[in-house]
């Protein structure tokens, strides 16, 4: 066994960490969050130039041939800076879907500009009634000539407002909660019948409600097979969960060190807070939760392409459970230990807390995955 990064991965990590250190102070982030796009076009260009957007794509499609570990390294670094660029939605989710399910032509068309930062993808999988069930799809795709006509509503599509193309799940057969009969389509965001309502999320990102009203798409808009989209959706969700787990680890690690520093500097009763044993023990439990989360995130990442499906699925669900539980404990504790300061918008700790809390909700919260786990 070896859990160390290879040389290129270490270089990647160093460059991501440097970028975050130099460009992602709280004031920088605040500006980006408040800007019309909700992220930095310049940052996005830099990320493309440094090869991060293509880090997990094969060279044939404009990438540099990495995989889940590269994604993990980037996401963890982005967690430290609370990066708001749409890397997760566009590259991790959108990129995986096209890479794993697209035809060679689709990959050639979409992936190189994705890696160059020229187009942005988003993934619309949730619906108003679906909660966390990926197979609960009510959006309809009816055959029409050689193509399809889509109608329905996709909810809380991460970075859906700024995306050029949105991959959506729609039902080509079967009933609302059947696993079979779901098909994935790439829809141009400016196609007739697509309307979007974009908004901020509580953690400073962007999302959108995407309404589809008789949206016509050609046959080659299908990703994967007709009626057979579910395995692809699940694959993207697993890759998404592993990436989010890495982001969460970056956030938790940062919250741990910020809180530890605070306990060393803030004085009450004539001594640093860190001298009070009740707080020392809480801090130690935070450290333990961080370590466990890091292990869980790592296992999930390394098992993404495991040939044993049960082992793979369990590792991913376990990571989501562990991360969600740790997020709750570490987030709440870090705020508490900062006292009144922790409640303020001015302190970065509260921004980490908000993002960490929302990560638990993505692709199902800890309770959801704990419930699925025994059957995996």
């Amino acid at each position: 066994m070896d859990f160390s990064l290879n040389e290129e991965q270490q270089l990647l990590k160093d460059s991501v960490d440097r970028f975050v250190r130099e460009n992602y102070g709280l004031a920088d982030r605040r500006k980006l969050v408040a800007s019309p796009d909700g992220f930095g076009r310049d940052n996005w260009r830099i990320m493309a130039e440094l090869g991060w957007l293509g880090a997990a794509l094969p060279e044939a499609y404009g990438g540099t041939g990495g995989g889940p570990v590269e994604t993990m390294v980037i996401m963890e670094g982005f967690g430290r800076g609370l990066v708001v660029e749409p890397y997760f939605a566009s590259v991790v989710l959108g990129g995986s879907l096209i890479l794993q399910g697209g035809t060679d032509a689709a990959r050639r068309e979409i992936l190189p500009p994705l890696a160059e930062g020229r187009i942005q993808l988003a993934f619309g999988f949730a619906e108003r009634q679906s909660r966390y069930d990926l197979f609960d799809v009510d959006t309809k795709a009816a055959k029409s000539g050689s193509g399809f006509v889509l109608s329905g509503h996709k909810g809380v599509v991460l970075h859906g407002g700024g995306a050029d193309k949105i991959v959506v799940s729609a039902r080509t057969a079967g009933a609302r909660r059947e696993k079979a009969g779901i098909t994935l389509f790439v829809v141009d965001a400016d196609a007739a019948g697509v309307s979007r309502r974009a908004y901020q999320t509580i953690d400073g990102l962007r999302a959108a409600e995407v309404a589809l009203e008789n949206v016509e798409v050609p046959a080659d808009a299908v990703i994967g097979s007709v009626d057979g989209g579910m395995p692809l959706i699940e694959d993207a969700a697993r890759r998404g969960i592993a990436a989010l787990a890495a982001e969460a680890v970056g956030i938790m690690d940062t919250m741990q060190s910020l809180t530890n520093d605070y306990l060393k500097t803030r004085q009450q009763f004539g001594r640093p807070l860190g001298k009070f044993q009740a707080l020392q023990h809480r801090m130690v439990d935070i450290l333990i939760a961080c370590e466990e989360s890091r292990s869980a995130a790592l296992i999930a990442t390394l098992r993404l392409d495991d040939e044993d499906a049960s082992r793979r699925d369990k590792a991913v669900a376990a990571a989501k459970v562990k991360i969600g539980q740790s997020a709750r404990f570490i987030g709440q504790s870090a705020i508490q230990l900062h006292g009144g300061m922790g409640m303020t918008d001015e302190m970065q700790i509260s921004h980490y807390f908000k993002r960490l809390t929302m990560i638990d909700l993505m692709f199902g919260d800890h309770a959801y995955h704990l419930k699925r786990y025994p059957a995996l």
Binding site: A126, R128, R177, Q336, G342
Partner: protein
């Protein structure tokens, strides 16, 4: 022993419920239930309605405007307000400075300040905490220097809830810089509308603006606005902290939030049915119900004991700890109930009268923000760690 409310208490409950139903303005109830933003006017309107009925300060002595209700009846009254989604009563005048004034104040202070609290004319805020003095409140540094018949006050207070609305602040200041901590502190009543008082808002992580820093620069405070003796302020401050125990656990508000949670879960699709049918979720709700029920009777035990004149025990601190933990847990479940729709943050949707279609379910808009906001409850009023320290020291003798 008898678990039931007496017939008299039941009749009282009926009377209180009817009054609240008839008099709580609908828009205010909607704001509270919907978790929308409340402003000074909302609080003051409700305070004035109660004031007109003579019910704003039930726990005060009758000579100053109290009602002579029993502690259990006061409990019922608070409970009924929460049940109807009335706004919580702003404690600073009613529960904090008022009792300090009628217990320790001069005749002039009683005559001048108390009627204005009873009639909801004045809005108060609490100037205890400072940037350097939170849990270790007795280390506070704001100075009041005596100059003839005035004190000149310099320093800053922080986390001051609703200071932006306040006419007056009761304020702990150091009047003897050489005395040991608790001994050199005085309790001053400061007019907020005067030169040298600057209120600067602090935005909290949920985007709301309810706390402030108050800068005091050469602020003149007449000596007659000092409560009690010079350098004895800590005694009054601590009296205030331990004074009114009914309602500290906010059981009524938690019950109302739990009701809301049930309503939301009953409407929230989950699988083939609704979230309310989900076994895990039912279990969470059941746990909260059990905890709330148990805490309620812990509070009632304390109240009936104090009605019989027994000395207060550890209940106030126990109620604060468990009460805040439950409030926080319920706010967490409310957020979780929404699934993905907890994420959208549309600040305008938190204002009453927002007309656009909600993003997702109608109830969703404020829930994540509320969860983040509720983290304050284990911090303010003495953090839960400090509450535990107090129990360990005062009750357990450790």
């Amino acid at each position: 022993m008898d678990l039931r409310f007496s017939g008299e208490d039941q009749a009282f409950q009926e009377k209180a419920r009817t009054f609240i139903e008839r008099n709580l303005p609908a828009d205010i109830g909607e704001k509270v239930k919907g978790g929308l933003r409340l402003y000074k006017d909302d609080y003051v309107r409700w305070h004035k309605i109660l004031a007109k009925q003579g019910w704003l300060v039930p726990e005060w002595p009758e000579e100053h405007g109290g009602t002579n209700w029993t502690p259990v009846q006061r409990y019922i009254f608070l409970e009924e307000q929460a049940r109807a989604y009335a706004p919580r009563l702003v404690a600073f005048g009613i529960k904090m400075v008022g009792p300090v004034i009628y217990t320790f104040g001069s005749p002039r202070q009683k005559q001048h300040y108390l009627p204005r609290i009873v009639s909801a004319e004045d809005f108060w805020c609490q100037g205890y905490s400072e940037p350097g003095s939170g849990s270790d409140l007795a280390s506070l540094q704001t100075k009041a220097v005596r100059k003839g018949d005035h004190y000149i006050v310099n320093g800053s207070k922080t986390w001051t809830t609703m200071a932006q609305y306040a006419d007056h602040m009761f304020c702990l200041c150091r009047t003897d810089p050489n005395a040991k901590f608790q001994e050199g502190i005085s309790f001053l009543l400061i007019d907020m509308k005067q030169p040298g008082v600057e209120v600067k808002p602090i935005r909290t992580m949920d985007g709301s603006q309810e706390i402030n820093t108050v800068y005091l620069t050469d602020v003149k405070v007449p000596v007659e606005d000092r409560v009690g003796e010079e350098n004895k302020g800590w005694t009054y401050a601590k009296f205030l902290l331990s004074h009114e125990r009914s309602g500290i656990a906010r059981i009524g508000a938690s019950k109302a939030q739990l009701d809301k949670l049930r309503q939301i879960a009953a409407a929230e699709p989950c699988g083939d049915g609704y979230l309310i049918d989900d076994e895990d979720f039912r279990r969470e709700i059941a746990q909260i119900e059990i905890d709330l029920h148990t805490l309620e009777y812990t509070e009632l035990r304390a109240l009936t004991a104090s009605a019989k004149g027994e000395a207060p025990g550890p209940e106030a601190n126990v109620l604060k700890i468990r009460g805040t933990e439950l409030q926080q847990k319920i706010s967490e479940l409310l957020m979780q109930a929404m699934g993905y729709y907890a994420m959208p943050f549309v600040p305008e949707a938190l204002e009453h009268g927002y007309n656009e279609d909600p993003v997702g379910p109608q109830a969703a808009a404020p829930l994540a923000a509320q969860y983040f906001n509720m983290r304050k409850t284990s911090i303010y009023g003495g953090t839960n760690e400090i509450q535990r320290n107090i129990i360990a020291k005062m009750v357990l003798g450790l």
